[in-house]
């Protein structure tokens, strides 16, 4: 799919803005703090109804305004025929001061994949960043994943509360049981979908990596869980039973998908510990690009790529390879503080809240 045009009104640093991007590569170039990331965020919001930068939508409207909107048209080509859909997203401040988002017209096939500097945390950050990453992909691939995740977190919070409040009481097991059972059911559902998402990524990751890093090294991704290969809720229940004494002492649930992690290795060495800064950035970018194919298959159309400063910290040769790989995508937006020589790209100068076709 691609964004045919977009119009912003009172979004971040923009009063009004209209942009007609092209298919393939669009480069947004400009000095720091001119609104490149703001624009990328708005494009993502148009497609998905969410910001990749913040969960507080009140940060998105331009300071001091009462309403903001992002309007545009999304196009996709299916069996040779292009269809278009108008989408309008509005942010309104209610009487209680709370911002509400409304959206109209977003087609079910609309998908965007965003990459930003925070994504390096997938490689070098704490396990939570990797769980968030794989859950994000699983949610784009499997529509029920997000709901299961919410349910799992609810059950987990309640089970932990029981462990804290009743840990010394003889009836602890009976109290825990209905929560352990639900934790096991939704927990194994999450693990199964995360595993499938990892498997879907692995093949593409290998291909993307060899394109970006020009051969030589190999990158591998694996799902890491204390439950081994088990797929039945029973296995999680048994693991909970084994951890029971420990859990009662610490007052928290010690096994389950909320404790799992991803292993990311470059030539067998942990990328978090041994990867160079540039390698870590490149692995993070490769992970996002590896997501394109599985999401395309699941949604029936290619996602829009929103890449924020994706080339920084990469050497000129690797940049060249990244641009070549991006050449295959249906539509890409790439921000950069310095001009790049990318053949065939539409270049937009972002400066002082305005955009000028270069």
């Amino acid at each position: 799919m691609r964004i045919a045009w977009v119009q912003l009104s009172e979004v971040r640093s923009y009063r009004t803005l209209e942009l007609h991007p092209q298919a393939r590569l669009n480069v947004l170039v400009g000095p720091n703090a001119q609104g490149k990331t703001n624009l990328l965020e708005a494009l993502g919001f148009l497609v998905t109804g969410r910001s990749f930068r913040t969960s507080r939508i009140g940060e998105i409207p331009r300071w001091g305004v009462e309403a903001a909107s992002i309007t545009g048209e999304l196009a996709r080509r299916a069996s040779g025929v292009e269809s278009r859909r108008s989408v309008r997203r509005a942010l309104l401040r209610g009487g209680d001061g709370i911002w509400q988002a409304t959206g109209e017209g977003a087609p079910e096939w609309a998908r965007a994949i965003a990459f930003g500097w925070q994504d390096v945390e997938i490689v070098n950050g704490a396990p939570g960043a990797r769980r968030g990453f794989i859950d994000g992909i699983a949610a784009r691939l499997y529509p029920t994943h997000a709901a299961t995740l919410v349910r799992y977190r609810q059950v987990l919070a309640r089970r932990n509360r029981i462990l804290q409040a009743h840990r010394r009481e003889p009836g602890l097991d009976a109290r825990l049981e209905p929560w352990s059972e639900q934790l096991a059911t939704s927990g194994m559902e999450l693990i199964a979908r995360r595993r499938r998402a990892v498997a879907a990524l692995q093949t593409e990751l290998a291909r993307v990596w060899s394109a970006l890093a020009a051969g030589h090294s190999k990158v591998e991704i694996r799902y890491r869980t204390a439950l081994g290969e088990a797929a039945e809720p029973r296995a999680l229940l048994e693991a909970l039973a084994r951890a029971r004494h420990h859990e009662a002492r610490l007052g928290q649930t010690l096994v389950g998908p909320h404790r799992d992690d991803l292993a990311l290795e470059i030539d067998g060495a942990d990328a978090r510990t041994f990867g160079s800064r540039g390698q870590q950035r490149l692995v993070a970018l490769a992970l996002r690009l590896a997501e394109v194919l599985p999401v395309t298959e699941a949604a029936g159309t290619a996602p829009v790529l929103l890449l924020d400063d994706a080339l920084s910290e990469l050497d000129p040769r690797v940049r060249e390879l990244v641009l070549r790989e991006l050449g295959a995508a249906e539509q890409v937006f790439l921000t950069t503080p310095e001009p790049l020589g990318a053949a065939g790209a539409a270049v937009f100068d972002v400066n002082g809240g305005g955009i000028f076709a270069a």
């Binding site: 609810q154 059950v155 409040a165 109290r175 209905p178």
Partner: protein, 200 residues
């Protein structure tokens, strides 16, 4: 800052204790009431007291009622072999509105909710066991809400009732997940009842 006269402050304070009512809403309600005719306000005040004085929980099923046992428990036409367990009186009403269920009810007056400190002893569980011991019931339908609290409550009861050798069923999952029984439409609820399965 100016203070409210004492009676105004007292009413705002009292209204704030209602579920879903914050300080702002309580203020708005109070000033709304101040503008209404005194008969209307008296009617409201009296109905508040009357509900507390005249309505009791049925000693058998724990539904709200103005007579004990309630009309449902007293009705000989209701099938005593099937017992439907719900969380709140509202859920019982929702079930009755489907017109599909001809058995009897047991209202737990809540669900297992660790975050609110509500455990089995805070629900009408012991009373349920006493009822079942009388041996009239052949099937217990667990019709607690499809959210995590309702599901935990159903799982807990299923385990507890297992030794009694009854048929224990759970209403089907067709209900919106995380939703409330009382807001489910009648068709959805009838289907959930019809599609119930054995649990535990």
């Amino acid at each position: 800052m100016a203070y409210y006269p004492e009676p105004v402050a007292r009413l705002i304070e009292a209204l704030q204790r209602l579920p879903g009512v914050g300080p702002k809403t309580a203020q708005r309600m109070t000033f709304f009431l101040l503008k209404r005719p005194v008969e209307e306000v008296r009617e409201l005040a009296e109905s508040l007291v009357a509900v507390k004085e005249r309505i009791v929980y049925c000693g058998t099923c724990f539904n709200v009622t103005d007579q004990d046992p309630c009309r449902l428990c007293a009705d000989p036409a209701r099938d005593a072999r099937v017992l439907c367990v719900v969380e709140e009186p509202n859920d019982l009403l929702a079930m009755e509105r489907t017109g599909e269920f001809r058995g009897r009810y047991h209202v737990l007056l809540g669900a297992l909710s660790p975050l609110d400190g509500i455990g089995p002893d805070d629900l009408k569980v012991r009373e349920l066991l006493l009822r079942l011991e009388q041996g009239e019931t052949a099937e217990v339908i667990l019709a607690t809400n499809p959210n995590v609290e309702g599901e935990a409550t159903a799982l807990y009861l299923a385990k507890l009732l297992r030794p009694l050798g009854l048929r224990v069923t759970r209403i089907a999952r067709g209900l919106p997940v995380g939703g409330d029984l009382e807001y489910a439409d009648q068709v959805t609820l009838s289907k959930a009842l019809e599609g119930r399965r054995e649990i535990g």
